[in-house]
Symmetry: C2
Subunit: 354 residues, 2 copies
């Protein structure tokens, strides 16, 4: 169905009609000039992110349901990165004429799946049109006790540096999707060049080759915010001294923490967690897997520092790896390679403005 | 300067470097995964809006400083429309390559001018790239005591219906801008057709004819949120029973209030406040000025209902006009014309999805 047929209010009604707020802090959701929230006993955390078609996502790779899921998760991840609990979310969409009501429903399905996973209420938004493509802006609101909030600026000398999960897989997933896309287009081009209609027709059934690389795809297309790690840290009585989520690559994020905390760091190549599939894919593409893990974006794992006294506690937590420690500011940011050479860390993270 | 030269973080640093939060409720602004706010004694209001180039604004009409100002004001207006006080704002921008660092600074100048006017802190955002044009998403956060919040759904039979300022001028301002744009392009086309290079060159100095219509332009390009009216209502001890801001046209907004409050309404054409310049422009364009006032968008005046007992109090307030009253739901939404005919109100407000 064409979106114009429903109009703005009809579409919003349809997308939000059975949203029922779950959180005590949500006093009023969709349907007025503002949402109304109540946080008498904690601080309010607010984060916002914008995703543009062609820049942040390519709809040849990702369907709208996964995109909705990912859009919500990357914002939810920012709340966890402050050691908070996500509670509400608003979503603004600008859509061009090629999108249908059903497309928007798919997007909302994904969005709601992600929100339901972390008990987040969709409390408002805006749906409008765009000349070209799809633009998504999400704001997520959460809460934390004042004393629990973890900023980027609290890392201290001798603190241990930890990351959750493994790194570089989301980036390798993107490389894989791009490779298969270019395989497809080169076959189309060749069929056109030869005037081979039959080959062109059969390319409609083109099956990209993802065998053995499912994990990479999952990491690129089904982003998960690591609220489970936050819960485990709380249960273990560990309060990180500094924390952020890894959206632009480990190097870049670590440098943010060092800069804002006025400290240096020393991380060890051999400690950086890398999945087997990530390593295989890097080899296939003739890329250095450590470079991918250091600079590949979109893993949305947590990077955090903890007091050295929490060493034993952290080792009891699954899926968290110690990768180094914080040093004096004057020692700079250093990577120690497998063969014990030292290099200054460089932020080569993904830059959407270059 | 090209934006790519600064990169994302460089640009954000430059745009936000001397932003100093003013509000007690702003605990931490730009620079971490989230902003941190504190609202122990009031409810938190959240509103969000997305503005797309070519759909919501045309950069041939509006410069980036005015656009920044307007983008902030339309969101601030939503907080006032709940009878709240705006406090914080986040802004996400997606910009194509044709925009420079200086352009972004201009946009931020306007944004900050609007925020300063209402003591709103810019606490975060996102700056990224877009394939085509400029996309703006703003979230505004405010506060109100629970008992002060005014929803759309509180209008009661016999309540009086009021609007601030005058209506239709922003829409007429847009018509004026579009007329002058088409005059310009028709002269360009004619000069090209004739191959008249001299005429083409002199068109670079084309001066649109806005004489005597400055107010219309101001209403279109320099949107003001009516916080002054909110202050006056408070000072007079009037608490509206229902309220919203008029962004899509009086008819459309009044129907929202009636629908959500389960009431009808009766408004009087002769009471609708219209500026002299609006009336003159409508006549020039052969348009019915009442239709413009009912359906023209972007005035950002306040529409609200008050108990009939506040009749005298409201008449003592400058720049507020009584336009009718609330009736039983079964009586529908009625416009009484100057010659005492009755028509059902229709929402022909601006629909960005049609």
């Amino acid at each position: 169905m064409e979106i114009a047929k429903l109009g703005e209010f009809g579409l919003i009604d349809r997308l939000t009609k059975d949203i029922k707020p779950q959180n005590e802090s949500t006093k009023y959701g969709v349907g007025d000039d503002c949402a109304v929230l109540s946080y008498p006993n904690s601080e309010v955390l607010v984060t916002t992110d914008m995703l543009m078609e062609g820049v942040h996502f390519d709809l040849t790779y990702i369907d709208l349901e996964h995109l909705g899921y990912k859009s919500a998760m990357v914002n939810i991840s920012d709340i966890f990165a402050m050691n908070g609990t996500p509670r509400q979310l608003t979503v603004s969409l600008a859509v061009s004429k090629r999108f249908t009501v059903e497309d928007m429903e798919q997007f909302y399905n994904g969005l709601r799946l992600a929100c339901d996973k972390w008990h987040v209420d969709i409390v408002g938004g805006d749906t409008t049109s765009s000349y070209t493509g799809l633009a998504i802006s999400i704001t997520c609101i959460g809460e934390a006790k004042k004393e629990d909030i973890v900023y980027r600026n609290g890392a201290k000398e001798t603190d241990l540096i930890c990351v959750s999960g493994d790194l570089g897989a989301a980036y390798m997933g993107l490389q894989l999707l791009e490779r298969e896309k270019s395989v497809y287009y080169s076959q189309v081009d060749e069929a056109k060049r030869k005037g081979d209609k039959k080959a062109l027709e059969s390319l409609a059934q083109f099956q990209p080759d993802f065998a053995g690389k499912e994990y990479l795809l999952q990491r690129q297309l089904r982003t998960e915010a690591r609220g489970d790690i936050i819960e485990k840290l709380r249960a273990a009585g560990i309060r990180p001294t500094a924390m952020m989520d890894i959206s632009d690559g480990l190097s870049s994020e670590l440098m943010h923490i060092c800069k804002q905390s006025h400290v240096g760091c020393r991380i060890f190549e051999k400690q950086i967690p890398i999945d087997y599939q990530t390593a295989v894919m890097a080899e296939e593409l003739n890329m250095n897997v450590t470079t991918c893990a250091l600079n590949g974006g979109e893993d949305y794992e947590l990077l955090f520092t903890i007091p050295i006294g929490d060493h034993e506690k952290i080792q009891a937590i699954d899926d968290v790896r110690l990768i180094g420690h914080i040093t004096k500011d004057s020692l700079g940011q250093v990577l120690v390679t497998r063969d014990d050479q030292e290099f200054p860390l460089k932020a080569q993270g993904w830059n959407p403005l270059q």
